[in-house]
């Protein structure tokens, strides 16, 4: 009970704010109680340590103002950099799609003709490529006309036969 009373006084507020009466009572109690004596001594030393600590001061150096302004400029520059990155990311999709379109056009222009993927547009290629729109192809089909030499007698006979059969049907 007595210990709690002393400890209550010691922990209730700063030791320096205790009145003379409170301090004398605490000191008197501590004389007859080893535990309270230790607590009182520790509280006294703690107060002295904190007082010395509070008395310490660090003053600003003459270069502090310059240092803060330099740091501020640096930080503002750092904050601007991410906004440029955001802008680049937003434009990135557009730039990528444009690059893809250009690449695709380049493939169709320079690579596809050599692979026979596009319609022929010059004489040399036309001579070797099958002509799906010729009369031969229409009459005999592309498979027959592609590799075999055309017999024009067969063509005439087929034409007349077809005309005669139309007359009979009429």
């Amino acid at each position: 009970m007595k210990d709690q009373h002393i400890i209550g006084i010691l922990e209730g507020g700063p030791l320096a704010r205790l009145s003379e009466g409170e301090l004398a009572a605490a000191r008197a109690h501590a004389e007859g109680c080893a535990e309270c004596r230790r607590a009182f001594d520790a509280a006294r030393v703690s107060a002295a340590l904190l007082r010395e600590r509070a008395a310490e001061r660090v003053e600003p150096s003459p270069f502090f103002q310059t240092r803060v302004l330099a740091a501020l400029r640096e930080r503002l520059a750092e904050e601007e950099t991410p906004s440029l990155r955001r802008l680049w990311r937003a434009a990135g999709a557009l730039v990528s799609s444009m690059a893809a379109a250009v690449a695709l056009l380049a493939v169709f222009t320079f690579v596809a003709p050599n692979l026979g993927l596009a319609p022929a547009d010059d004489g040399q290629v036309a001579a070797t490529a099958p002509d799906y729109y010729s009369t031969d192809a229409a009459l005999f089909g592309p498979a027959e006309t592609a590799d075999a030499e055309v017999d024009y007698d067969q063509v005439f006979r087929a034409v007349y036969a077809s005309a005669e059969s139309e007359d009979v049907n009429e």
């Binding site: 520790a42 030393v45 703690s46 010395e52 003053e59």
Partner: protein, 197 residues
């Protein structure tokens, strides 16, 4: 610029006037350093903390509406910034008597015996005590350190500490009560084992 009031300087700085902000830094550096000194002891760390305070203040200039004093507004930012820096730094392990220097041990002995230390000048004794106080405080939480330094060290009124920290007055009192106990117990251990050296 030196004639301008804080509110005017804040308005100009907000608009991008660097010289206005430079004047704010010049005018309020001593106050910010005083706050940062409560948390940190090494000059380099105090300067870093003070710089961070001003950079934070710059980004928060919009929130200063001129209702209270600029100094009070800046002190709150300084206190909270330093508290966060201290929290991030964490705390050191418990200080034992074997960690004490010879001077620190002698200072404790002198405190117990009540005798004036003859071997050192007062300034030197003060430095030893401040070093030891810093080492003991380093083992405590940031909140404990703050409240002990302000309430017990500087003997500031609870109301003022509450305004600086943004805590309620009852929180300051409870925090101080508990911190005082923890500090007393830590010192008691040093004294107890120090006496057996």
């Amino acid at each position: 610029m030196e004639q301008a009031g804080d509110l005017e300087l804040a308005r100009l700085a907000r608009g991008g006037d660097e010289s206005a902000f430079a004047e704010i830094v010049r005018r309020h550096s001593p106050r910010v350093f005083r706050v940062a000194s409560r948390f940190f002891r090494q000059r380099e760390r105090v300067e870093e903390a003070a710089q961070e305070v001003f950079l934070k203040a710059f980004t928060q200039l919009d929130s200063f509406e001129g209702r209270g004093s600029f100094e009070g507004w800046l002190t709150r930012i300084a206190t909270n910034t330093c508290l966060n820096l201290l929290r991030a730094a964490g705390r050191r392990p418990e200080l034992t008597v074997s960690d004490l220097t010879e001077d620190e041990g002698a200072w404790l002995d002198n405190q117990l015996s009540g005798a004036a230390a003859a071997r050192h000048e007062a300034a030197e004794r003060g430095r030893v005590a401040a070093d030891l106080a810093g080492r003991v405080l380093d083992t405590m939480s940031a909140d404990d350190r703050l409240v002990l330094t302000l309430v017990d060290g500087e003997e500031l009124p609870v109301k003022e500490v509450a305004e600086m920290t943004g805590w309620s007055e009852s929180k300051v009192k409870v925090q101080a009560f508990r911190a005082r106990r923890r500090m007393r117990e830590a010192v008691e251990k040093l004294l107890q084992f120090g006496g057996k050296r």
